[in-house]
C-alpha cells in the first residue's frame, strides 16, 4: 500500500498571530526600574511605655534640623546642603581625634585587625511639619552619601576594591566600622504657631 503523505500544515498565519501578541506586550510593557533611597525605620514604641530620652554624650550627637523654609541648622550652625556631606564625614570618622567630635575606640575586629572608629556616634535628623519632602530627602541623601564615601574609602584602603565589589563577609566588616546610625526624631512641631 502506498504511504499516505501528511499534508504540510499551513503555518503562514503563525507569524501574524505572534506579531499580534508581540505588539500587545510591546505596548503594555513598562520598562521602568523603580529605584529609591532605602531606609530602615525604628521599631514602634509601645503605647504604655514612655519615650525615654536616652542619654547620649553631646560630643557623640550630630543634629541636623530642617525648618519650614527648608533651611538647615547643623550643630547649631546654618549650613548649605552642599557642605553637609563633608561635615557629616568629618563627624562620623573624626580623623583628628577632636575632643568635640565622637569618641574614638580602638578595637580588634577579626578579619580587620586593630581598628579605630567612633562606635557611639548618632546622627539625628529633625524636620518641621512644613518641610518640603525634597529638602528632607536631600539631607537623607547627603548623609547616606557620607557613609557610602567613608565605606568606599575604607574598603579601598583595606581590600583595594570599592565597597560594592566586596563579598558579603567583607561588606559586613566594613559596615561594622561605619555603621549607619541616622536617627529620626519623633515628629514635632518646631517654631510653628499651630
Amino acid at each position: 500500500m502506498a504511504k499516505k503523505k501528511v499534508p504540510a500544515l499551513n503555518a503562514s498565519s503563525m507569524a501574524d498571530i505572534s506579531f499580534l501578541l508581540l505588539i500587545f506586550f510591546l505596548v503594555t510593557t513598562s520598562m521602568d526600574v523603580s529605584q529609591g533611597l532605602a531606609r530602615r525605620l525604628p521599631a514602634p514604641v509601645p503605647p504604655d511605655q514612655k519615650v525615654e530620652d536616652t542619654d547620649i554624650n553631646k560630643r557623640n550627637l550630630f543634629v541636623v534640623k530642617i525648618n519650614s523654609m527648608n533651611q538647615l541648622l547643623v550643630q547649631g550652625q546654618e549650613m548649605n546642603i552642599k557642605q553637609l556631606r563633608e561635615k557629616a564625614k568629618e563627624f562620623i570618622a573624626n580623623p583628628n581625634d577632636d575632643p568635640n567630635l565622637p569618641k574614638l575606640y580602638t578595637e580588634n575586629i577579626e578579619g580587620l585587625g586593630e581598628v579605630t572608629y567612633t562606635r557611639e556616634h548618632v546622627i539625628s535628623v529633625q524636620n518641621d511639619v512644613d518641610t518640603q519632602y525634597q529638602a528632607y530627602l536631600d539631607v537623607q541623601n547627603e548623609l547616606v552619601a557620607a557613609y557610602n564615601e567613608l565605606r568606599n574609602e575604607y574598603a579601598q584602603a583595606k581590600f583595594h576594591k570599592p565597597f560594592v565589589e566586596l563579598d558579603e563577609e567583607q561588606q559586613k566588616l566594613v559596615q561594622k566600622v561605619y555603621p549607619q546610625k541616622i536617627s529620626e526624631a519623633e515628629p514635632k512641631n518646631y517654631g510653628g504657631n499651630k
Binding site: 510593557t29 513598562s30 529605584q35 525604628p42 541623601n141 552619601a145 515628629p187
Partner: protein, 156 residues
C-alpha cells in the same frame, strides 16, 4: 552548453518565511518576561524627588507602594487639591495604611514577610507632615523596611 533564454518570463522565487514566527516568538518571549503588568492607574499626580545614592529594588513582588500627591484633574472636583494618599487603586486615609500593610503582609508567604518593602512614591513638594504620618503608620504596622522612591539627580 549555455542555454539561451529568449522570452521566458523569469519568476521570482518565493521568500522562505518559515523562520519568521521563530524570530517573532523570541521577541515576544523577551517582552513577556520583562513586562510588569500590575501597574495601578494613578489617581494622584506626583514627581518623585531627586537623589544620588539610589538603590534598585530587588524583588518587585515584595514591594508595596504608597502614592502621595495631589489628585489628578478628573478627581480634583471630588477630592480637592490637597495632598492625598493612594493605596492600590483607591484614595485612602492615613489610618487605613496600617490595615492595608497588615493585610498585604499576611497574604505573603511566611518566608517573604520579613522581606517586604514599602516604597513611598511621594511628590517632591509634599509637606513632611504627611510623610511623617505615613512613617508613623508604617512603624505601627511593623513595616520597617522602606524606600523613598526617587529619580537619579543629573545636576544640582
Amino acid at each position: 552548453m549555455a542555454k539561451i533564454r529568449r522570452n521566458e518570463k523569469k519568476e521570482m522565487p518565493a521568500l522562505n518565511t518559515s523562520s519568521l514566527p521563530d524570530i517573532i516568538f523570541m521577541l515576544l518571549f523577551f517582552f513577556m518576561t520583562v513586562t510588569s503588568m500590575k501597574e495601578v492607574s494613578y489617581k494622584v499626580r506626583f514627581t518623585v524627588p531627586q537623589a544620588t545614592e539610589l538603590t534598585k529594588m530587588e524583588k518587585k513582588s515584595l514591594v508595596r507602594y504608597i502614592y502621595v500627591g495631589t489628585p489628578t484633574d478628573e478627581f480634583r472636583k471630588q477630592y480637592g487639591a490637597e495632598t492625598r494618599i493612594q493605596l492600590d487603586d483607591a484614595f485612602a486615609e492615613v489610618a487605613e495604611i496600617e490595615n492595608y500593610i497588615v493585610n498585604e503582609r499576611s497574604a505573603m508567604s511566611e518566608s517573604d514577610q520579613g522581606q517586604m518593602t514599602v516604597s513611598i512614591k511621594a511628590d517632591a513638594n509634599t509637606r513632611m507632615g504627611v510623610i511623617a504620618d505615613i512613617k508613623q503608620a508604617l512603624r505601627r504596622a511593623y513595616a520597617l523596611k522602606i524606600n523613598y522612591a526617587a529619580s537619579q539627580r543629573t545636576s544640582y
